[in-house]
Symmetry: C2
Subunit: 518 residues, 2 copies
């Protein structure tokens, strides 16, 4: 049973109030590119072949309430999380032990690992790696505690293609604008107005993430091929969330002075080539005579199996990994983000955290953010998990998640025993069992594709982190972290009847955190 | 015969070049609110009842070439034009003599004049007036000259609702972005890159016009009714060009710290009231308990007869004019912008200019921008005009324009004699006859509603001006100009087969000037 902690919120609006709020929200969003390309169900490709129509990104009408100390803690520990995942990506032996358990059951992880082995054999051409992470949390209130207090629990840690960093700065600016023009009723505007520590928090994710790309670009050094340098945004075709990426691109150009190009995943082998020393060259299709040398590849594609439907796709990934460009993320960092890693770190009484973080205080803070996660293998913890998951009574407090990246296909609560019953037991280790987080009840309204829906919602706080490191050469050289900063936040809010995330997929909305002292 | 003066431009693009240019143009435009609401022919109200879809404003793919000295001259004389039209608006006797000629033939002018007389009788409650002008020019090359040189000729002078000041700063920034990312072929990018005096000129119209509203707001002084102060944007319902206005609103809030509200023209009498001392109060429908005192009314509606289809509409205009709010424009300034005024100033050997401008040098520069304009009345100049206009041979060098504001319904060249033949002669003085301006041939491509059309185009340079003055009390007190500045520019470009302007009406595109030394 979810425990209520927030004041009554948001208020009911009169028709005139709603109309004023909505008109200003829509126009501000479009005027500032807080937008997505409309889904085919709203605008068909037939109607708009050039793709010139846009619509506000799904957004909440109100900034969602969020406990101040939870927010502060999530941002405060981001640098430690950056350090942790950088250390994991630099610990090949440890990663190998984790990945090996998945090789037979997760073809995607297996393919990624094979690419690592292939490049390792040849020798890596680049010793720097860039992480642009996002650690996602929900507020959890333990209803069985004597004095229930809100705390953050990690939902997942993203090491590749963390999205919405371009839009989240816009959505907080949008909600702050609505406060500035008194679009909210007086009885709540005091709550929303920013004081030093409370009120709507502005996210700086856009410029801060662009600064991460800029730092990697500069760390690459001068051109080996005497060509102009560039960053590559590796993207999916027909990306509806393109403006999120564009805002990073524009900040990278204007604030960092760094050129970038968008490269669709299926054009890698056509539009890039490697020199004999594996310098990566980008040959712009619109201007083949002005090749650029690629310093940094920012993956906004290639993170899920659905991007690898042809043999060429894997050849393309290998081609990039062999190159001297800095990868964001490197293939080991990509693997570090697998749910299996999250699971072994969060398995009760796991010894792993102390391998990567020397400070006991830091380890304790990180541990506090873990919801218990169990493997579904045949270890002691795994057998306990199987017992919990196959009994519909105990399963009701859990969610079953595939180890792979990319969201989707989670199995919830009472549906778990039936699902496992229909799944061959040897495939069970491809899943983890996670204790459900119990967020306090909250109401909001969401504008999506021209429709407003109001109801119970669940918010997910994502904290961005930028980390640039030297990978090290093994045998005592563990590399070193060169840059490490917290890079703003995102609040994503979804209806509490849906149990999926991901705004662009149509299930949620971008939101701002209005911090309250609860 | 139009005389060619420009280098070959723009270049032909390969398919890949066009695709790169267009994708970047579309995404940049949407990400920065260089947008309009799509017309019903593109997106029906049925499909999008809340109005959440937007599309790039009609824009040119290339910045249009423009002679540098013409551009510099147009901007340099804007302050003199501000001075001129402020002086006209402050010279009631002279305006009266002009308007009286129109009273019987132009019902709209007649109604405006009656409002002035009504308010004058009661006594004006506000002695300050704000002008946000736009002087529109075309480049003219006299093909009969021995050494043809480009010069600017004024098309019209707008004293009310001058549009696109919000978007023009965006379109120049967009074209400059396209240069920065090498979206144009190398052979022309040198031409487009900004040097000190050549290349694409950034317009500052957005912030500069907002600064005009901010100056009026501050000049109004403190609240008489002890209420928060605000500016009113008086707008049309279902405004497709809303983002143009929104950008001014946002700059006014952020750069000037001034609140504003959008008031639809048909809500004036519902949402505002006058106190006993004629202070204008705005009662926001979404928050009736928080009335604001209106310092300044910025007319983006009410400029054409089509806004006055009910008796209430005229009562509403009177209501505003009676108020103590600063009007942008005042009713006399609105009248000063009638085509009749432009015509009498530009009638060959007119004595009027010296009444308003003391400096002979300034008068000469202003005079140079006039294309000869004739009345169609029974004066000597009018009789000469009738001779020119009724003969299809001589009419071929002229355009016939209605005296009223708002564009549209111009009659061109050979069509003039037939039109006059079908029009009762007593209505002829409602029109002016203007020598056609002969712009040098130019090619461009325009993106509009998801379609690209390439072909011959005509560009129209609009220069914005801000002028704040004290109206004076007559009898020797001629008032005084308090603020006067040039406020950026707009280039509007239309296909040369169409002979109408006005992008939002679907006939043109917003553009940037790429200055060339021709």
């Amino acid at each position: 049973m979810a425990t209520s902690i927030y004041p009554q919120y948001p208020p009911d609006l009169t028709g005139e109030q709603k109309s004023y709020l909505l008109t200003n929200l829509i126009d501000w969003s479009i005027a500032h590119g807080l937008t997505v390309k409309p889904p085919p169900s709203f605008v068909s490709a037939n109607q708009d072949p050039l793709g010139v129509l846009a619509t506000p990104a799904p957004v909440t009408l109100f900034p969602s309430l969020f406990p101040q100390r939870c927010f502060d803690e999530a941002l405060a520990i981001q640098e430690s999380y950056n350090e942790l995942y950088s250390a994991i990506a630099r610990d090949e032996d440890w990663l190998k032990s984790i990945v090996e358990e998945l090789l037979d059951i997760d073809d995607f992880v297996s393919q990624l690992w094979n690419i690592h082995l292939t490049v390792k054999k040849e020798g890596y051409a680049q010793n720097l790696a860039l992480g642009m992470f996002r650690s996602d949390y929900m507020v959890h209130v333990d209803s069985t505690a004597t004095k229930p207090e809100p705390e953050i629990k990690q939902v997942e840690f993203n090491t590749i293609a963390s999205s919405f960093g371009g839009l989240s700065a816009q959505v907080t600016a949008m909600h702050r604008h609505l406060v500035a023009i008194d679009a909210y009723p007086p009885e709540i505007s005091a709550l929303l107005k920013t004081t030093e520590s409370l009120g709507i928090k502005q996210s700086r994710s856009n410029t801060s993430l662009a600064a991460g790309l800029g730092a990697a670009h500069r760390a690459y050094g001068t051109s080996k091929a005497s060509l102009p340098l560039c960053v590559i945004f590796l993207v999916q075709d027909l990306e509806r969330n393109a403006f999120d990426q564009r805002h990073l691109e524009y900040s990278l150009l204007h604030d960092q002075g760094t050129r970038s190009f968008r490269l669709p995943f299926d054009r890698i082998l056509t539009d890039t080539k490697l020199t004999s020393d594996r310098t990566l060259l980008y040959i712009p299709p619109h201007s083949p005579s002005t090749s650029h040398e690629v310093t940094t590849i920012y993956f906004r594609a290639g993170y899920s199996p659905s991007d690898y439907t042809t043999p060429d796709a894997w050849a393309a990934r290998l081609h990039l990994e062999r190159s001297a460009a800095i990868k964001c993320p490197s293939i080991l960092t990509h693997l570090a983000g697998s749910k299996k890693v999250q699971q072994v770190l969060a398995t009760p009484s796991s010894p792993h955290l102390s391998r990567f973080l020397t400070s006991p205080a830091t380890r304790a803070r990180i541990l506090n953010t873990f919801a218990p996660i169990y493997p579904l293998d045949t270890s002691a913890a795994g057998l306990e998990a199987r017992r919990l998951a196959t009994d519909s009574k105990t399963a009701a407090r859990y969610v079953l998640k595939p180890q792979r990246e990319g969201g989707g296909n989670n199995i919830y609560r009472a549906a778990i025993p039936k699902f496992l019953g229909e799944t061959s037991e040897e495939r069970w280790p491809a899943y983890i069992l996670m204790e459900m987080i119990e967020p306090p009840p909250l109401t909001n309204a969401i504008l999506r594709n021209g429709e407003v829906q109001r109801g119970g919602v669940i918010g997910e706080l994502g904290v961005y982190g930028v980390c640039l490191w030297r990978q090290g050469g093994g045998e005592g050289d563990k590399g070193e972290v060169l840059e490490n900063w917290e890079a703003g936040y995102l609040l994503r809010t979804k209806g509490d009847t849906s149990e999926e995330g991901g705004v662009a997929a149509g299930f949620g909305a971008v939101d701002s955190a209005c911090l309250v002292d609860v």
